[in-house]
Symmetry: C2
Subunit: 454 residues, 2 copies
């Protein structure tokens, strides 16, 4: 019966009996959960045809059951205890879109222990407890799918794991947090301060009431750790990811970066360097003509460099209800296809990040080399510039580009900004400390890394 349902004639697909449907239990009926219901309902015929069998939402649980009942309609059984759902024999796959880490971990592990496949968009959960969860799924022979966890509507996990599977990945560089990209876009385009741009993001619903996870870069770090795991088969402990948020970014640096032909973006980067990886998240200058610099507002974009395919770029919505549901339902369809084939679900390339977990050393940020941007407030003492050039030269810091930039606000001090050659963080910080001593206190007012992404 199940085997027969794998190959329906196209016209028969909607007649396939409910017996072979993939039965879904939903934990969480908020933004992503309700979007998932909508997409499953609206495109039900098309989804059944393409997946080879129907995908049916049969049970749900949520904090507010009354509200959930309104979202879900009468055909979905509501249960108040999520443990009932994850253990229910009438469920094949659990969709976890409740968020949070502690309870989500318990429920996902319990679902796996009861032989359920899991679809989740919970990047914090996977970045913190992925190893435990994937090991449990492997042992139990179930799939844990999470396309929506990294870049929402962009099928980047499928691209890395299947589309580009023939490649050794060299680097993955992405704008993976829509909230901070919206804030940076406002700071750049309208000259808003960070605080004003954050207020606007909150008013428009792009930032949550507590924006700490986004603004601090931690959400991007979760996603970058997942990308590194997928791209390099690496187990990346979150505490080894260098993370710097956007809260200290002065909009004047965006003006200065523009004068040098760059834009400042919050990038998540994972890159192979000899036998180590660099995995880092911080505001970064990117050339203004690069596709990553064109990612505006709450959109996401991911630049991948691979040994055979060369560079590819993947762009789409970074947040939203049905945009995330697009990924959740795609994962359900993958589960439906594999599950229906009578195939044990322990396909390595699906249930663990890359099928090949190896232990990569993660480079400390001080050992990561890049070009750097430096801003000095010299405009009241222009005679210092000649001496600064001499000092930097003596310290081995090449000034490869230089610009004088006026502050857009009256009465504010302008700046001399420059780009250095490629230097490790340690070498640059050492040089800046030496500069401070030899110059009697001169130091950059701002310092950011540059990625030319050639």
């Amino acid at each position: 019966m199940i085997h027969g349902s794998l190959f329906p004639a196209a016209s028969d697909a909607s007649d396939v009996s409910g017996d072979c449907a993939l039965r879904v239990g939903l934990i969480g009926t908020g933004v992503v959960g309700s979007g998932t219901c909508q997409v499953l309902a609206r495109n039900a015929d098309l989804i059944a045809q393409r997946a080879g069998r129907p995908i049916r939402l049969v049970m749900a649980t949520a904090r507010n059951l009354l509200k959930a009942a309104q979202v879900l309609g009468p055909d979905v059984a509501l249960v108040s205890d999520p443990l009932t759902l994850v253990r229910h024999p009438g469920i094949d796959v659990v969709v976890e879109v409740m968020g949070g880490v502690t309870l989500a971990r318990t429920l996902v592990l319990d679902a796996i222990a009861h032989g359920k496949h899991v679809v989740t968009v919970n990047k914090a959960l996977l970045a913190e407890h992925g190893s435990e969860i994937f090991a449990a799924a492997d042992a139990q022979g179930v799939i844990v799918a999470y396309e929506g966890a990294v870049a929402v509507s962009i099928p980047i996990i499928k691209a890395l794991r299947e589309g580009l599977a023939a490649n050794r990945i060299l680097e993955v560089v992405g704008i993976v947090n829509g909230t901070t990209n919206f804030i940076l876009t406002q700071m750049h385009d309208a000259g808003l301060s960070f605080e004003a741009a954050l207020r606007l993001a909150t008013e428009l619903g792009y930032a949550e009431a507590d924006p700490t996870l986004d603004v601090s870069g931690m959400d991007a770090a979760h996603k970058t750790a997942l990308l590194a795991a997928i791209a390099f088969g690496a187990d990346v402990p979150l505490d080894l990811v260098h993370v710097q948020g956007i809260g200290t970014l002065d909009p004047f640096d965006m003006v200065c970066a523009q004068a040098l032909g760059y834009r400042i973006k919050l990038l998540g980067m994972a890159r192979q360097r000899s036998n180590a990886l660099e995995v880092r998240v911080h505001p970064t200058l990117v050339p203004e003509k690069h596709l990553l610099a064109q990612v505006q507002g709450a959109m996401n974009g991911i630049w991948v460099n691979a040994d055979a395919a060369g560079p590819t770029f993947h762009y789409g919505a970074g947040a939203g209800s049905q945009t995330t549901a697009s990924a959740v339902v795609a994962d359900l369809m993958d589960v439906a296809r594999q599950g229906s084939a009578g195939l044990s679900a322990r396909v390595p390339h699906r249930s663990v990040p890359s099928g090949v977990i190896r232990s990569w050393p993660i480079l400390p940020i001080g050992q990561v080399a890049s070009r750097h941007y430096l801003r000095f407030e010299l405009t009241k003492r222009p005679e210092l510039l000649t001496r600064l050039n001499g000092w930097l030269q003596a310290l081995g810091v090449d000034v490869q580009r230089l610009a004088h930039v006026q502050h857009p606000q009256d009465g504010m001090q302008g700046a001399v900004v420059m780009l250095t050659q490629c230097l490790t963080g340690d070498v640059l910080l050492g040089a800046m400390e030496a500069l401070r001593q030899m110059s009697g206190g001169l130091e950059p007012a701002a310092m950011w890394r540059v990625e030319d992404l050639n």
Copy 2:
């Protein structure tokens, strides 16, 4: 044995015995064939780990066997008759990268008849004989995979068919021919004529000795027909695709487009309009800030709009040896995973364009509505402009933007250029004929469609 090999411990993958390897026969050892050999050899370990079993090139055929022997090395059996290869019991999958249509069709159908899976990058073959080939593959229970046929290194087929499978696709708009995009980039950036840019493309190896297929738009039409088939489950007869190449494009129109904030690109478009499809290829104005306008040189980019995911953009190399091999080997890995699962290969979503072929009417180009760009050579008779505005208004053509543009070359006539509202081709051509009559011969020197892609 085969089942056991599906789940190798990561460290054991390279020890998997050759008995369970996917055995590949290669037809054609030119640019793509040699790249495929290189990628299979260089990343052999990683490919075996990710696919669950090794992928081994065991046999090849080519026009020049001596040269092929140099490319392939001593481990690959060379046969002079391709029919020997496609019928050989020691081959699981045939990679067809010889190009051409007639012999390729014969060999692919023969391979399918002998139970071989097929991987091809031959868009002309699939656009012209896809229905026959996919029907044969379905009947025989084998896979025909062709990720490299549409956008080379961009995994767009996987994105449409799996990553975005939960969506109703609304439109697919792409730059899918690297040669013409290189020529247009040279015309735009360096002001070269079409002929000079084509010469440069030929010298640099971006254009073939006979560039007709690229320059005429036919190669893009093949790819656009495939994209339409995948996105809409449509069987698109090639002769219903409206195709216009770049040979008649005046570089002055690029200057004029820029004055209006647009760039001219050769776009392949497939879009749903009520219960019909528009499928067309022609030079088109796109807003200069749109990501499609940023696709330079020989790169490709595809813009997809879908009902849940919203807009996504997919970018990568549009030509090349290992770039195409990246797609060929990814297809081989998909075959290896499915084949090794003991799963009959008749998974609908893989072997036919979308698993759901339906009959869509294709709109004639005259019924396709869009904004239009018009160039009039009025600068020697500026008094005509007021009258032109009156005539156009009387004919129901709104001038939504207008610019006077000087020709960059001395002595050449400048122009008045304008953008109209959204009009069908038939309505606009009717209006232009009426204009010619009421004005005593006035007509636009150039007319191109505009896509704002909001």
